[in-house]
């Protein structure tokens, strides 16, 4: 710990006069009390603390600017943009199908939701929403619900770690691993899957998936139960979370909050029920609400939502068992031409398909080449599709000018919106409560900054 009057890493203040004579402390580990002593010896009345952007408890590269009076936060602001990678702009230079591989990287804990929102938007533009095969929709629901559980497990786990409870994190990640195994088995990748494609999904489930899912469900249920036993009535957890980060219904509506944060106020708003997509209206599940509107309520909402997701996954498994159907739209002008198959080195074009395009049919080869390199054209217009991601309303606004690429693809990421509530949740509380409040929003900076 040291005091610098000239800080080589400091950004230049916009108002040099105001910054004149300000003391800058850089904290790189060490004892907080030393800093407090050092600061109090200067008789400063207010301290502005920059938490992050590289801080283990800020969920990535979130920067929190806190003005403190002792341990009390008098003002809190969130600074974002450190992970901005221009995904939306990049998508304008790729085909509609390739766009999936970009948007999946936004919120890297909920890749399936971005893929689904984008693909449903494209399908709305193409007018093929009703032609998506039943099996493809069921697989989409299955993958989205597994992603929801894995996202909630990371949200709960890292939230626990930030409070100092390492076991919560290890259990959370251990259970997530079970889901990751199935997701990897199906898509070939743990994250950034690019599995949901315009028109359906890229490849059918490999043999044995349904058995693996059925085997996983009780294990995951057991794991969540273990976490619940550890946390729900834990006096330390309750002491840290009850009444912390409170945002009531009026606040949530004003700030456009969705997802577990909104449902923790008691409003049962869930797009899967109120504006169903992918056939969610045919599944049997409940929308979980709590009324405490605090960090503890959100934790409990997440736990209960995981059980509901497991219910949906079980129903998906039953439906997939009975429905062998195709997983890609029948229209050959849209559907990906290659039939993928699992080879010794992972997924690739099936040998039958290669034999056909290389040996039998010149037209099939041309078709494959054109569709893969050029892509399909989407009629001009715009569409907005919202899905209920693990964090709230994930919206995708797609604009087409009739070409093979999006003219504009905008994602309304729930975390981006929800981070606006940091000030409302943290001001007037303690510094330590900031961590809990931010963790209860479960923001992922990849999605916030895009």
């Amino acid at each position: 710990m040291s005091t610098h009057t000239t800080d080589p890493y400091a950004t230049s203040p916009l108002d040099e006069e105001m910054a004149e004579g300000a003391h800058v402390f850089n904290v790189e580990g060490g004892d907080w009390d030393d800093l407090v002593d050092e600061a109090t010896s200067l008789h400063e009345e207010r301290i502005v603390v920059n938490m992050g952007p590289q801080h283990p408890s800020t969920h990535g590269v979130l920067r929190l600017i806190l003005e403190l009076d002792g341990e009390t936060v008098t003002e809190a602001r969130a600074g974002i943009g450190y992970l901005h990678t221009g995904i939306e702009k990049n998508m304008e230079f790729r085909t509609w199908t390739q766009g999936v591989t970009f948007c999946t990287r936004m919120d890297y804990l909920t890749p399936m939701f971005q893929e689904a929102a984008f693909c449903l938007g494209i399908e709305k533009l193409l007018g093929v929403t009703d032609d998506i095969p039943e099996r493809a929709s069921v697989i989409r629901v299955l993958m989205m619900e597994m992603t929801r559980i894995s996202s909630h497990l990371v949200g709960v786990g890292t939230g626990g770690m930030e409070m100092g409870a390492t076991t919560v994190m290890t259990i959370g990640f251990r259970e997530r691993e079970r889901l990751m195994r199935i997701i990897e088995m199906v898509t070939g990748l743990r994250m950034n899957n690019a599995y949901i494609r315009p028109g359906g999904v890229v490849v059918d489930l490999p043999p044995g998936t349904i058995d693996a899912i059925r085997e996983m469900i009780p294990q995951i249920r057991q794991g969540i139960k273990e976490l619940e036993d550890l946390l729900n009535e834990n006096p330390i957890v309750k002491g840290r979370m009850v009444g912390v980060g409170v945002l009531d219904l009026a606040g949530c509506m004003a700030l456009g909050m969705t997802g577990p944060v909104l449902r923790s106020t008691g409003l049962p708003h869930d797009l899967r029920k109120s504006a169903p997509y992918c056939g969610y209206e045919t599944y049997d599940f409940d929308v979980i609400t709590r009324t405490s509107a605090d960090a503890y309520g959100r934790l409990r909402v997440r736990f209960d939502e995981m059980y509901e997701s497991l219910r949906i996954i079980a129903q998906c498994a039953d439906r997939l068992q009975d429905n062998p159907g195709p997983v890609m739209v029948a229209d050959k002008k849209i559907g990906w031409p290659a039939q993928l198959a699992l080879g010794p080195d992972g997924y690739g074009n099936s040998l039958d398909h290669i034999r056909e395009i290389m040996g039998d049919s010149m037209e099939a080869l041309i078709h494959h080449f054109k569709l893969v390199t050029e892509g399909f054209r989407v009629p001009p217009g715009q569409a907005y599709q919202a899905v209920e991601s693990a964090k709230g309303e994930l919206g995708c606004h797609v604009v087409s000018q009739g070409g093979t690429r999006p003219y504009r693809a905008h994602f309304r990421d729930p975390s981006f919106n929800n981070l606006q509530a940091v000030a409302a949740m943290c001001e007037g509380g303690q510094v330590a409560d900031v961590i809990v409040a931010v963790a209860s929003l479960d923001p992922v900076m990849g999605g916030v900054d895009r």
Partner: protein, 265 residues
């Protein structure tokens, strides 16, 4: 896929203007008069938002080489005529009623109503945006209490209305009804009133749209950059934003910027 027709004609939504919208018009690239009329947005006429040129298929003539300078107008769905279908008529009627006695009537405030692909879009004149937003939020029959943010779109080839701000409103009270509000402004005067006073959640969304498109939201509490660094020049998601090529040189040639490479479009 060399055919310039869309792979599949979208099914007309129950309500829709769409089938006659795109299929019925005999517009060709050379018919400039028709383009102007289309831009005026007469009922049912599709709106031309630009002209696409590039590699085209045989539907526009015998030239399939792509080097013949083939061009095609980009037609967005035009204004819809009553009945709009679904809950759209009710929303329009209630909005008309809610705006009575206010600063502007429905016809003054709403440039046109578009129904496309099962979605309702209200094109609002920018000077009346606040009044419309307030009516949409506050009127008990409308109650669009949730704004899912604003998304900018830059239409390079629409003189006088290059920049569009597109708002997505949801009414949770009325079972997740959705309406899209679209506002445009010229590039030379990129001002649109901020609706943060009506929808506080739009704060960051408007900052993002300013950051990426340079639309100035008048009345925003602190319109600063949010994703790009504070001292960044330009607005990256505009279509005229210069993209850097990769300075890899091979025998005197460099790799051009992504928007200048030869590509399908």
């Amino acid at each position: 896929m060399s055919d310039s027709q869309p792979p599949k004609t979208p099914k007309p939504p129950e309500s829709s203007q769409r089938a006659e919208g795109t299929a019925g018009t005999g517009l060709t690239a050379t018919d400039i008069g028709a383009l102007d009329r289309a831009r005026a947005g007469e009922a049912g006429e599709p709106v031309t938002v630009g002209v696409r040129s590039g590699m085209w298929g045989p539907s526009l003539g015998g030239d399939t080489s792509g080097y013949g300078g083939l061009e095609k107008p980009i037609l967005f769905p035009g204004a819809a005529a009553r009945p709009y279908g679904e809950y759209f008529d009710e929303v329009a009627d209630e909005l008309e009623r809610a705006l009575v006695g206010g600063s502007a009537s429905f016809d003054e405030a709403i440039e046109k109503v578009v129904v496309d692909r099962g979605e309702l879009t209200l094109h609002v004149r920018r000077e009346h945006l606040l009044a419309v937003a307030r009516a949409l939020r506050d009127d008990p029959a409308l109650r669009f209490e949730f704004c899912a943010g604003v998304s900018g779109v830059h239409y390079l080839d629409m003189p006088g209305e290059e920049l569009h701000a597109v708002y997505h409103l949801v009414s949770i009270t009325h079972g997740s009804r959705r309406v899209r509000v679209e506002v445009s402004c010229p590039d030379a005067d990129p001002h649109i009133p901020s609706i943060v006073s009506v929808y506080p959640s739009n704060d960051w969304h408007e900052r993002e749209t300013w950051d990426m498109f340079g639309i100035i939201f008048d009345g925003h509490p602190s319109l600063t950059r949010i994703l790009m660094p504070d001292d960044w020049p330009g607005h990256p998601q505009r279509k005229d934003y210069p993209l850097g090529g990769i300075p890899v040189e091979y025998k005197g040639a460099t790799v051009p910027a992504p928007d200048e490479r030869r590509s399908y479009n």
